[in-house]
Subunit: 427 residues, 2 copies
């Protein structure tokens, strides 16, 4: 079958066969189908969508384009979490050691940040010595010793996804639900896990701006997991304001350490515990009270052991910026808005993120002590503290921060954190 | 502006700016925009269409990607005809010298056949010595001496179209009206013509199978011409049965010579005269009775002079196949069907056409003496004569010819030849 016939069929809204999808993906990975046919297929999928069966077939083909870790090689109940990405989302960093301390195994493959969205790998690499690039053997050894390991995507895992993702990025075919779902699940299911919890972010600082879009993505993720015989549940969480009080790589590690010590911002702790409960239930571990593991030091100890296994020094000081500049409120009142997207852009300009995949990032910069929606503020009291190494366009950063915050006269309720939940059994 | 932003805008149904279209096309022609972004744009255009203004801008950009013949360099009223291609469509070959003999100038750039559709260049090259590859200077000299010249697309004319057409062929983006229109008009309007008549074929042997599709294409061609300040009219003509009684390269040259001598099949003569009238009117030549130029020998003499200017020998015998095999009717009755597509496929198998652009063709083979719809036939009387050099799968050819013809008990009316006409002034 010629590749253009598959293109014609998808263009005309027909359902592609399993073998046809598999052949297309594997031929593309081997370089036998050129980028120009894959980009045309991606655009046709953008317009025509894919059935649940096609999405599962695409995910499977992308997963099988590379090596798949044999679940039998990793002991215990293996469960992971994936987030679609948001501003200040450091949840994975305390969550993985917490769930491991509760008795499950967490083999977590994470990504890097692009645009305003930070990446777990970049945050971890602000810990002096931490290596995210473990090979499969070292990954499995770390899981055996610590119960969790957090690495980056290796060259062997889902090469079709790596190739297709780079292509989608430059051909306006990123926002397509079957393509997003197959990209996420092909990597995650190659980790050899039994169960997966997905945190679908929704709001100004997330990829999915509307609840309807987030809901469609969450439902397709859960359905595709079921079609592939995996236990996947999804949670839609709010991303109108940043998560926690810090945005920036080392700043978020510090906040994650606070959470692991039983402290830190309430919204991060609430979300970490909610996701831990779901992961443990889905993996069939428990009943266990995760919160006690934050207070008795066992989650923090698991994290420190994992950092050491990755070559990092858990006692080394984190990078710190040259200047910390309080950003004062212009008037007194109550914070009515703390726009996640604008705050993400300000951090990007400070050097905390990258515009292109090959940009370098500055681990020390970002914002801390962020005021949250609903909190009272005095005139000249800081809305946040800017951590700068002096490389930014200060006027632009200040305009972004100033525009991100709204201050009203009366108190407002904080926006909801957990919006909806989708269980693997639901239709 | 990044190419992916243009892709996003078209994907989301926005109207692209003139400068944006121009930049995209010219950057693509220079190789600065890769094929994978152009194929994604073509697929987005397939789904979202283009406004008349966008289609005119695309046509203009593709035309200006190469050299455009200065109309001032060619004397007289310059007019051309283009057909969207059909089975047995040899109309251009008698039409160009006829219109030239009537006093207009016909600078005609034609194409090669692909699939079941024959190409004027392939037909002309069955005349011993005829060169279709003249440079611009020789083309203009031939026009001055003969009033017409029929050449192939040069490397200088609309290189964006050559590159994009090859890409569309393998990315399922051929059947898109703005892409078809810009492909046709970018080449034709680079010829330095004042006016153009388009013959949009409709029926089983044509690219446009339905009248609705043919009408949409005809209307867009005329509208785009008007938006670009050119006089373009379009005629929709039937292609349920082949045009004339011969399909095959040398066989069609023979039929064209019959027309130029005032003889030949009635449908070809009718269409040639109708198109000549439209071309002359559009070019502002006349009033002139084109039919007299067929009878007084001046059209034929113009053709012979053009052949000589192209290096051809107008007196040399045309290639002839080794065998001529009459194909008998299985029963007596009236021809009720002579399916153009099946007859085209039979000729392709005989060697008259190509499946791929680099296939060689056999100028001598094809079908002649084709019975037309409505004609009576006796049992064992030939439905056509097969011209073969013995390289075909005879059983398959015979099955195709046999299946192409239907024979009924009562007489039927021949299908209409000219279905609709679109004038430049119409909306």
């Amino acid at each position: 079958m010629l590749p253009q016939w598959t293109l014609e069929r998808k263009r005309d809204g027909q359902e592609l066969d399993s073998g046809e999808i598999r052949d297309f993906v594997l031929s593309y990975t081997r370089g036998e189908i050129p980028d120009y046919q894959m980009s045309a297929l991606a655009m046709a999928i953008y317009f025509q969508g894919m059935s649940p069966r096609e999405t599962a077939d695409l995910t499977l083909a992308m997963m099988e384009s590379g090596s798949v870790i044999d679940p039998g090689r990793i002991a215990g109940r293996k469960v992971d979490k994936h987030s679609t990405g948001g501003i200040g989302d450091k949840v994975s960093i305390p969550l993985a050691p917490l769930v491991a301390a509760c008795g499950a195994t967490v083999p977590m493959i994470s990504g890097r940040g692009l645009g305003i969205t930070g990446g777990t790998l970049d945050k971890l690499e602000s810990i002096p010595g931490y290596r995210t690039g473990l090979g499969e053997e070292e990954f499995i050894r770390t899981l055996e010793r610590c119960g969790c390991s957090m690495i980056g995507q290796t060259a062997e895992i889902a090469p079709a996804d790596r190739k297709l993702y780079a292509l989608r990025d430059v051909t306006a075919t990123v926002p397509s639900i079957p393509l997003i779902v197959s990209s996420i699940l092909s990597k995650k299911l190659a980790e050899g896990i039994d169960a997966l919890v997905l945190d679908v972010k929704c709001g100004s600082g997330a990829f999915m701006k509307s609840l309807a879009d987030a809901r469609a993505l969450a439902r397709t993720l859960v359905d595709t997991g079921r079609a592939m015989g995996r236990k996947i549940s999804a949670v839609i969480t709010g991303m109108e304001q940043p998560l926690g009080r810090a945005v920036g790589n080392a700043l978020e590690i510090r906040e994650a350490l606070d959470i692991l010590a039983g402290e830190g911002p309430e919204d991060v702790r609430t979300l970490v515990l909610a996701l831990a409960d779901r992961m443990l239930a889905l993996a069939g571990v428990g009943p266990v009270d995760a919160e006690t593991k934050l207070h008795d030091g066992s989650a923090l100890e698991t994290f420190r052991r994992m950092v050491a296994c990755h070559g990092g020094d858990p006692d080394a000081p984190l990078p710190r910026s040259r200047r910390q500049i309080p950003f004062p409120a212009e008037r007194a009142g109550f914070v009515s808005r703390a726009d996640a997207e604008a705050i993400g852009r300000a951090c990007l300009l400070l050097g905390a993120g990258r515009c292109r995949t090959d940009d370098a990032i500055d681990p020390a910069v970002g914002l801390s002590d962020l005021k949250k929606i609903g909190e009272p503020v005095e005139r000249d009291e800081p809305l946040c503290v800017v951590h700068s190494n002096g490389h930014e366009d200060w006027d632009l950063v200040a305009r972004l921060i100033s525009g991100a915050f709204g201050i009203g006269d009366g108190p407002v309720d904080p926006p909801p954190l957990i919006l909806e939940q989708f269980e693997p059994g639901e239709g």
